[in-house]
């Protein structure tokens, strides 16, 4: 029976090549976009080099001062002083990475300008983030306290600045007229991970701005790492308790707010979707679901339409099958199976195309140092979506078809 369905499904697909192309294109294109998009999201949100401890970490990317009287507020990353004094002293985190947002500096090689993104860090930065050292090692707490001009550079920077030299540890790199001695070289990080990405990492103590300045707002972020995942809620509470005691710098404001978030939440809270009251994840999920629904609805409607015209073309076949003993439900089953075969084909093509696209992106290094992979879960969900696709787009046309009277169906040829 199934073999017979398969035969006729393939025959029908071959007969109407253009329709088949449109249907398959719709399904595979939609699926490709979904898979590639989720590969990006997956890459940006899941544990990735060097941010491997995301599930037991909390991120402090901003602080906020709020005025109740005139409803004014000010948002900014925190100062080094604030993070060092209030966050580093918390009991639950085992390590706290403090680093600045990367900023562009200029280096010159043979009178040619090279833009280098520089990040100031503390020593625990190298413990929270698991960088892979190609040579050398990170700078130590002592070097930081001594204010030594030492640096860790990325592999890309090594190639761009030093060329083909086999080892560069101990050599000097000059950025914004400051000479740093290279202590280590790490595998490069893609720019999509702003908290760990930089070309040049140097101790916060060599920063030109005074890191000891006693303000709350500045240019630093902190990542707190708990001993285990189970400690994360406790860590969040401990931070909240500390924050509640802090008064804003500015007399105009009454309230000081800062929340330690998970990785994804820390980004969304700073987007228009989030606020200090809620991270915005639920809003984002909702928005994404609605978007997805519409995105999938288009090819589904398209398929429904094509299926109706396709099935009505086969009214003679429907009439004959009914005359020779197919009940309406058997026919509905047949057409749904045929449609599932079509969507399944589209599904496979979509997966193949996605695979090719991701491989191309990886091989051409479209986004430097970013390696995209097809997520197994996504693949599974995509397959499930395909089957739902196939069912939804097949059921209505099949139902309409099954209501066709045999006599009418046979006459219309």
């Amino acid at each position: 029976m199934l073999k017979n369905y398969f035969k006729i499904a393939i025959a029908v697909l071959k007969r109407r090549k253009f329709f088949t192309f449109i249907s398959l294109f719709g399904i595979s294109f939609t699926l490709t976009i979904l898979i590639v998009a989720t590969a990006f999201i997956d890459n940006a949100t899941s544990d990735n080099y060097p941010e491997v401890n995301r599930d037991r970490s909390l991120y402090i990317t901003s602080v906020q001062e709020k005025g109740l009287k005139n409803h004014s507020q000010m948002n900014s990353p925190a100062s080094f002083y604030y993070l060092d004094r209030y966050v580093s002293t918390l009991k639950t985190p085992v390590k706290v990475a403090i680093s600045s947002f990367y900023a562009v500096t200029n280096a010159y090689i043979n009178n040619k300008r090279l833009a280098i993104n520089l990040k100031y860090t503390n020593d625990e930065f190298w413990d929270v983030f698991q960088y892979k050292f190609i040579e050398g090692k990170p700078y130590t707490l002592q070097q930081i306290n001594n204010g030594e001009h030492v640096a860790v550079i990325s592999e890309d920077t090594k190639r761009d600045y030093f060329g083909d030299l086999p080892t560069v540890v101990g050599k000097y790199i000059e950025a914004d007229n400051v000479q740093y001695r290279v202590a280590g070289v790490v595998k490069s990080v893609p720019v999509t991970m702003p908290l760990s990405y930089a070309d040049l990492y140097v101790p916060y103590t060599v920063s030109k701005t005074d890191y000891r300045q006693k303000t709350l707002m500045g240019n630093y972020t902190a990542v707190m790492m708990a001993a285990t995942k189970a400690d994360v809620p406790k860590m969040k509470e401990e931070y909240a308790a500390i924050v509640a005691k802090i008064k804003p710098d500015d007399k105009e404001y009454d309230e000081f707010i800062s929340i330690a978030d998970t990785y994804v939440a820390s980004f969304i809270r700073n987007s228009p979707l989030g606020s200090s009251d809620e991270s915005g994840i639920s809003k984002l999920v909702m928005a994404a679901s609605i978007f997805l629904l519409f995105f999938m609805l288009l090819p589904t409607l398209n398929l429904v339409n094509i299926n109706i015209s396709r099935i009505m073309e086969r009214s003679s076949e429907i009439g004959v099958r009914k005359a020779f003993g197919a009940s309406s439900s058997t026919l509905v089953g047949q057409f749904i199976v045929e449609n599932l075969i079509l969507t399944f084909l589209g599904c496979i093509i979509g997966i193949i195309i996605s695979f090719i696209i991701l491989q191309l992106m990886n091989n051409t290094n479209m986004i430097a140092n970013m390696h995209l992979t097809i997520n197994g879960t996504v693949l599974l969900y995509s397959m499930a979506a395909c089957i739902i696709f196939g069912l939804i787009s097949g059921v209505y046309p099949a139902w309409r078809m099954s209501r066709l009277q045999v006599v009418t169906a046979l006459k219309s040829q």
Binding site: M1, K3, N4, K7, I8, A11, V12, R15, S316, E317, G319, V320, R321, K322, A323, F324, G325, A326, S327, S328, S329, T330, Q405, V406, V407, L410, Q413
Partner: protein, 230 residues
């Protein structure tokens, strides 16, 4: 075998009601080859469709093999048709996307028959109609007469007790038409299959056992040509 009691069929549009069949009473006996004649639009095909349970009468009862069919569900009707009746249509109604063998297998798909047995039975049916060498062809590669022979093979593959043929020779030239007619006569004679045939062709009708004439939806003549049962 088939009993029609006070059959009426009317088609209703917004303004008028057309009576296609008017109080038809007709019995078809087992092993009989009956032909139905009449001018175009007199309700011949409608009558045949009602006999074949493809269409429901507005009034009246259809009994097949002594069984009342009025209240059968869609599923039961489908099963009943599958087991009891084979159809032959004027315009063949073969499925063009399927090979000859797959077309002939079709009625068996809706029975519990294994794939190998299906193929076996379909091959036998095709041999009976003399097309065993065309099994792998598609319908579009066949002549009209060959197509109709495939349709006959499809109608007989499930060994139904009744075959209903709606102008089976209507789309064929006389030579091919005669071939098809001979095939049906042979089937009736050797297998004892009850056949009801609608036709326009007087000479074809004369070859059958009994001729029923319809005019404007009513039965006007019932003429026994050959006495089958003494």
């Amino acid at each position: 075998m088939i009993q029609l009691k006070q059959i009426e069929k009317s088609y209703r549009t917004d303004t008028i009601e057309t009576l296609a069949l008017n109080r038809i009473n007709l019995s078809v006996f087992q092993g009989e080859f009956l032909s139905i004649m009449g001018p175009s639009g007199c309700g011949k095909s409608t009558l045949l469709n009602i006999m074949g349970l493809l269409d429901a009468p507005t009034k009246g009862e259809v009994l097949i093999d002594g069984r009342l069919t009025t209240h059968l569900s869609d599923k039961q009707l489908a099963h009943f048709r599958n087991q009891t009746i084979g159809f032959i249509f004027q315009s063949f109604h073969l499925i063009n996307d399927l090979r000859v063998l797959d077309n002939v297998e079709l009625p068996l798909l809706y029975r519990k028959v294994s794939a190998s047995e299906r193929v076996q039975l379909a091959k036998e049916a095709l041999t009976k109609v003399g097309l065993s060498n065309r099994m792998k062809h598609f319908p579009s590669q066949l002549s009209g007469g060959q197509k109709q022979r495939v349709a006959i093979a499809r109608a007989i593959v499930g060994r139904p007790q009744i075959i209903l043929a709606d102008e089976p020779t209507g789309n064929l030239d006389s030579a091919m038409g005669n071939e098809i007619m001979d095939l049906l006569l042979h089937l009736n004679a050797t297998e004892g299959t009850t056949i009801v045939m609608v036709t326009h062709d007087e000479t074809m009708a004369k070859k059958t056992h009994r001729l029923v004439r319809l005019f404007d939806g009513a039965q006007v003549n019932d003429h026994t040509l050959k006495q089958v049962y003494a």
